[in-house]
Symmetry: C2
């Protein structure tokens, strides 16, 4: 057994202290991207990185790095991390487990006095959730060269504030360019956000890859007439159009024998008045699959449903693809290393595919990438009631540590 | 021809000045109930009432009256009016034409030095639109004894402010009890808010009655899981339920050979995030008909659709009937008087039924009631583009004047 071992109590203390920031009454956290609570969370991280002797680096889109030098400063980096922004009224585990777990792993090496061959870096990616500024996984996307920093700066939230302004406001528009290090491996620990591990009584999930997805935003525009005297045949009701598309999205997932999932998650109705026919409805469609052709077909189908609904109801429409990420099958070597680490720790595990998007999808474009999951009770995520047994968090962090040990040593 | 004649230019000047209050860039007005703009509008009315020599009375729910005494102060009153609160970003004509038209008619009697047998009163009803505080037609409803003042005071807007607080804040919680005068007749001039008069090239609509309606508010509650890893079969998606009910409402109006119209106008989704399955959706259903049994049947059907959608999707639900107003066929004598007045003025007209609710529906429970409509271009209403040709407004006001002349004289 290695001398390097994680300190579950230190991790626990930090986890509890960290989740005081933006805590909600219902036991969750409200730390959306670039909010004051998100700033406080970042400040806390930076403080802990410094206490752990890591060299802190903030890049131009607010990704926060902490680096522990290796024996060979020119060696490619083993990068570990996740994110600390949350959904609006989200859970305490999503993202946080991966960042604080990564920090714990790096400190475990320091505590044991073990120098690694390769540098280790811990990262907290900026704007992973994408609830305030779309697209999500923005920080890792810029880092991977998928988006320009200028694109990120120009994004607006619903109040019209830009990502650039808000990043500046909270003091996290850093000096470092958002460009990839020379990466050896990227590893991310995360809660499953689905029911599989808990249902099967397993400790850890070895992630083989991440579903691809597309995000669409549709707007229907009709006529805001009075709900009383306007005859049915004369109506152009934007909400009827949106309801038809939402039903079609649901039906789409039950056809064709695919793994497709589809969700209409955000719906804004204007003027949103009880006795006025909706004039304008903007809504989103999220479709996901582990097969890129299935996603293509679903996007085409949604487009046709929007066109047909607009034609039937006499609506104008716009349809924009906000985001598209291909399915990301991970590197076989990473998958094997994570599985071997789980065996070393004595964890039960299975291989699985992630339906949720992760920064790891973008990192997978840069370097061999792996992920491991710990169970989510009842599969709950993106809610205040999100919960993972503490022993599972510690076991997952231990597995991460064993995997890092293998990766950080030159063969 | 009578000596009493309306002054179209004075009416126009007032109409234009009045609609500076809360004016929107797109040419409408934004004066929702008990807003600052609504206070300003009320203040302007009170000033004009006083300038016209009317005795101003504010009642306990903010209905604003202006009284011109008749020859016989004990005679039952002829009451004329409408409302000056607006939809959010609504039109300039809805309600305003009826209040300023009524004021113009009363002044026309004064200008001509004609004393009527009966007192004339102009009224601006409080909270007619019901977009901020439901139910709508609140002021006339309290006046008619359908609601208690305490019920009105306790109503909350979406920000949690109560009708009572806000009424107090704008200074329109008056001393007078909200109780009916001894009424002889109630007459209301209004824009049609539908396409019939314009399509048929007519000057005036003689209203035979007002559709009844029911307002329902449904809430579905499901589970806010992550849109990626949550399998379709495990979802409890509150928006899928709402979409099904909205589609059912549309289909309901096309069956059974009835005059039913139905609208889902207001929809609020929580957490309203692109990658989170909607946990809670609250939406409204507005159903209307000139036949009360048709409304009953529609409410039952909506209830069943809500139950079925909840059962299919595994949702909890609540369904509340916010409001129910029976269809209101008007008094034959009033209908005849309005038609005779239209003929006297030389206006072309037809009889029609109002699909929109009006304060006249409640007044009809207290005294013989009549309404007349002027055309709405393209049938547009509850929108900033609402428009009526000015000549039509003046002609309608002239018809109102002639009808009042007949009613205000004792037989």
């Amino acid at each position: 057994m290695s001398d390097v071992t994680v300190d579950g109590q230190r991790l626990r203390d930090r986890f509890d202290a960290f989740n005081e920031i933006g805590a909600t009454e219902a036991g969750g956290v409200n730390r959306p991207s670039l909010s004051d609570a998100n700033r406080e969370a970042r400040d806390q991280l930076v403080e802990w990185f410094e206490e752990a002797g890591l060299e802190v680096r903030i890049d131009e889109v607010g990704n926060v790095f902490g680096r522990r030098e290796g024996r060979d400063p020119d060696a490619d980096v083993v990068l570990l991390g996740s994110h600390v922004d949350s959904q609006y009224n989200g859970g305490r585990y999503d993202g946080v487990v991966g960042v604080l777990g990564a920090l714990e792993v790096v400190e475990a090496f320091s505590d044991a006095g073990v120098e690694t061959d390769r540098p280790l870096e811990v990262v907290s990616w900026s704007n992973e959730e994408g609830v305030r500024f779309q697209p999500d996984m923005l920080g890792s996307g810029v880092y991977a060269g998928v988006f320009d920093p200028e694109f990120a700066y120009g994004l607006e939230d619903k109040a019209g504030k830009t990502f650039g302004e808000e990043l500046e406001r909270i003091g996290y528009r850093g000096e470092a360019p958002a460009e990839p290090d020379d990466l050896h491996r990227y590893l991310e620990l995360h809660v499953e956000q689905g029911p599989v591990l808990e249902e099967r009584g397993l400790d850890v999930g070895v992630v083989e890859g991440v579903y691809g997805f597309a995000w669409l935003e549709a707007t229907f525009e009709g006529q805001a007439d009075h709900a009383g005297p306007t005859p049915m045949h004369a109506r152009q009701d934007a909400f009827v159009g949106a309801a038809e598309v939402a039903k079609a999205v649901r039906e789409l997932t039950a056809t064709g024998g695919t793994d497709l999932v589809g969700t209409v998650g955000s719906v804004d109705v204007w003027p949103n008045s009880i006795n006025v026919i909706p004039e304008r409805v903007t809504f989103t469609v999220d479709v996901r699959s582990y097969d890129n052709e299935t996603i293509d077909a679903a996007v085409d189908r949604v487009r046709r449903e929007v066109e047909h609904a607009a034609e039937r109801e006499g609506l104008e429409y716009e349809l924009e693809e906000l985001m598209r990420i291909d399915a990301a099958p991970f590197d076989d070597g990473c998958i094997e290393t994570v599985a071997a680490a789980a065996e070393e720790v004595g964890c039960s595990y299975t291989h699985l595919v992630s339906g949720a998007g992760h920064d790891a999808s973008y990192l997978n474009q840069l370097a061999p990438t792996g992920m491991l999951f710990v169970p989510s009770v009842d599969g709950v995520s993106h809610r205040e009631s999100e919960y993972t047994e503490w022993d599972d968090v510690v076991a997952g962090t231990e597995v991460l540590c064993r995997a890092v040990e293998r990766m950080a040593t030159r063969a």
